[in-house]
């Protein structure tokens, strides 16, 4: 077992509890022992980076310090936005000694252990897309997906900016496809899989956001996808919960089931509803599951 510090972020604690539950069920099957960080806060979601950037840096340094204090070498995330915010802060702190010194002095003043810069932030997706995690995944996904057509949706902040994310090519990513294949599904290719779901501005600029949201859903639908899968709970919320608004504004009713990464693998691994919690989705997942029963 590989022990990792687990930073679940806001949504997996709140409106996307199903992400946390299914991640916990999945972890031991792919060789991960999760040590949940309790004394941590929100990463700021890009909003604090925009509102009070120095506070954003300190909040994330505090999270990294708590992660490092567990003794693990990896801090695991399950959200694109957490991944970028934490990696960006880590990148800055690791490359700038004077900055790290200043931030550590402030952390010390409020009783947070100093951060040395030793922990790496990695998304669950990266931990299971290659290496031992991938081998274990293939074994765990024994029930398979019977060739269901699954549209991978990466979203933005797990790919760009690549100088900070850097796991895979930002224009030609492969990790979700590899996982879909390992689960016995057929990956569907479509151009908008690396574009924005509109979530960051869905409250402040709903019309613009819906103009972005419709692209991946429409393209996945037209490519014949049975479902879409995403590594990000914010993408999940916008693709799943705001689909009804697309129906209202464009008249198009896609009824596209949206799965968290951990749920898709969970289906292929034979998890039951108590570990998947599809009842918490707005768009029913039933039609996709029915195809597996045939």
């Amino acid at each position: 077992m590989r022990r990792v510090a687990y930073y679940k972020g806001c949504l997996a604690s709140l409106s996307a509890k199903e992400l946390d539950i299914s991640t916990r069920a999945l972890a031991p099957k792919v060789g991960l022992e999760l040590e949940e960080l309790e004394a941590v806060t929100c990463c700021g979601a890009g909003d604090i980076h925009e509102a009070e950037p120095d506070y954003y840096l300190h909040l994330n340094a505090r999270i990294l310090a708590h992660g490092e204090a567990t003794g693990a070498d990896t801090l695991m995330t399950v959200c694109n936005v957490c991944t970028l915010n934490l990696r960006q802060a880590n990148w800055q702190l690791q490359k700038d000694e004077a900055l790290l010194e200043r931030v550590n002095a402030n952390l010390d003043a409020v009783g947070v252990p100093p951060y040395t810069g030793s922990i790496e932030v990695k998304h669950l997706l990266w931990l299971i897309a290659e290496g031992e995690g991938y081998e274990l995944l293939k074994a765990a996904a024994h029930k398979g997906l019977k060739g269901l057509k699954i549209a991978p949706f990466y979203g933005c902040q797990i790919l760009r900016p690549s100088k900070i994310l850097g796991f895979e090519h930002p224009d030609r990513p492969w990790s979700l496809e590899a996982i879909i294949e390992a689960c016995g599904g057929e990956p569907v290719d479509y151009p908008a899989k690396i574009k924005c779901c509109g979530f960051p501005i869905i409250q402040a600029r709903e019309e613009t956001a819906l103009g972005e949201l419709i692209q991946p859903i429409e393209q996945a639908y037209e490519a014949g996808a049975d479902a879409m899968v995403t590594p990000c709970p914010l993408c999940h919320l916008s693709l799943d919960a705001w689909q009804s608004k697309l129906k209202k504004t464009t008249g198009r009713d896609f009824r596209m089931p949206i799965l968290h990464l951990s749920q898709l693998i969970g289906v292929a691994a034979g998890f039951d509803e108590s570990e998947l919690l599809f009842k918490r989705h707005v768009v029913p997942v039933g039609p996709m599951l029915d195809k597996l029963q045939v």
């Binding site: 806001c10 949504l11 604690s13 709140l14 409106s15 309790e38 004394a39 941590v40 806060t41 929100c42 700021g44 890009g46 909003d47 604090i48 925009e50 509102a51 009070e52 950037p53 120095d54 506070y55 954003y56 840096l57 300190h58 909040l59 505090r62 800055q92 402030n106 952390l107 409020v110 790496e120 990695k122 290659e130 933005c156 902040q157 760009r160 900016p161 100088k163 900070i164 850097g166 796991f167 895979e168 090519h169 224009d171 492969w174 151009p191 574009k195 924005c196 960051p200 501005i201 409250q203 402040a204 600029r205 019309e207 613009t208 819906l210 972005e212 919320l237 919960a241 009842k279 707005v282």
Partner: protein, 378 residues
């Protein structure tokens, strides 16, 4: 073999391109394939020149300086905006790949690879991209001295060459063509952050318009594509931070951002259910009630009581209090300086790359050691 023979035989290669041809007058559109013999060192722009000289004189594209300064030759290669003069073709051609070349996105195409830049310049001009007078003259009549730290805040923004690669890929602009966009806003930050400018507040007011700062969806395509390292998304974040610092926070986007600060200070985690009324106001939130109820039925609207409170959340509040007096408020809080500017190699410790080294759209091709160049005299 003689040195001359090596030069003539080993230093050319076959380059094939598919180019989207378009004529806005007739509406004709065609993907045409071209193959030419070219030196191994050619850029995409060189290949276009060879095609135009030797194969098809009707091909239209813009160019001028050939050295990444003028910003004329922005176009798309395999769907990603690049400067043609910065894009070496060796890796792609030797891998036998045939990239598709097309005009930039988000701008009307005039002919082939030439776009109408007028909408781009209109937004650029709307930013008033020049210093406004109004600063206080030094009492001794000498020149102003400005610290390096203050100029670092606008260093990256000053590198812009107006090529349009960021605008080409902007996801918000696809959905809202009136969005001021990454180039104009980065230019705006270049003046907002300049201590010599006398119109900071007026600028921030203007950039907080409906199609301004808070229309950015943080897709980071601009930052990814910029061939000069401007990082427009960071520039937009700086404008947001300066707006909030100056109390220009009436926009829903600013209220949304401020609610995250409040949440981390009080419970540590986002107070998700209160985010809608705090962003949109109570009246608008009530109008959204039917939608909210449809989400509530699925557990998507967690009850705010009892609040979900992080352990030791007092530390976050104390941190915010401490840094408030350290002079890094607003845009100064975004990490600047040469370390932040440095280009980082594509592979980070996030994981090993499965794909082989190749030419990445928008990035430098893999640097080859001069001594190892194929065909180089040993």
């Amino acid at each position: 073999m003689t040195e001359a023979a090596i030069h003539t035989e080993a230093q050319t290669m076959e380059v094939a391109l598919k180019i989207w041809r378009f004529n806005s007058e007739t509406g004709e559109r065609e993907l045409r394939r071209y193959e030419v013999e070219a030196p191994e060192w050619v850029t995409l722009l060189d290949v276009l020149d060879i095609i135009k000289d030797r194969v098809d004189g009707t091909l239209a594209y813009r160019k001028s300086c050939r050295m990444m300064i003028c910003g004329s030759c922005g176009m798309r290669m395999d769907g990603a905006a690049v400067l043609a003069c910065k894009t070496r073709m060796y890796e792609l051609a030797s891998a036998g790949q045939v990239p598709v070349i097309s005009a930039m996105g988000n701008l009307p195409i005039i002919k082939d690879l030439v776009v109408d830049m007028q909408p781009f310049w209109d937004k650029f001009n709307a930013m008033k991209p020049y210093l406004q007078p109004g600063y206080v003259e030094p009492p001794d009549g000498k020149e102003h001295l400005i610290s390096q730290e203050r100029m670092n805040v606008i260093h990256k923004e000053s590198l812009c060459i107006n090529c349009g690669c960021c605008v080409s890929e902007c996801n918000s602009m696809e959905a809202d063509p009136d969005f001021l966009g990454p180039q104009a806003l980065a230019k705006g930050m270049r003046f907002v952050g300049d201590p010599r400018d006398g119109a900071k507040i007026e600028r921030l007011e203007a950039y907080n318009s409906e199609h301004g700062i808070w229309d950015c969806t943080r897709c980071y395509f601009c930052t990814e594509r910029c061939p000069k390292g401007v990082d427009p998304r960071d520039a937009i974040a700086k404008l947001g931070a300066e707006s909030i610092k100056e109390g220009i926070d009436r926009d829903m986007g600013a209220k949304h951002a401020k609610w995250f600060v409040k949440s981390t200070e009080t419970t540590g985690w986002l107070r998700e259910t209160e985010l809608v009324p705090k962003t949109q106001g109570v009246v608008s939130a009530i109008k959204e009630m039917k939608f909210a109820m449809s989400l509530a039925r699925r557990g998507k609207v967690p009850l705010p009581v009892p609040p979900h409170v992080a352990e030791e959340v007092g530390q976050a509040r104390a941190l915010r209090d401490i840094i408030a007096g350290q002079g890094r408020d607003g845009a100064l809080g975004i990490v600047q300086g040469e370390r932040a500017l440095g280009r980082i190699e594509h592979t980070d410790s996030g994981g090993a790359r499965r794909d082989a080294p190749e030419v990445t759209p928008g990035e430098e091709p893999v640097q080859r050691d001069i001594g190892e160049q194929p065909g180089a005299p040993s």
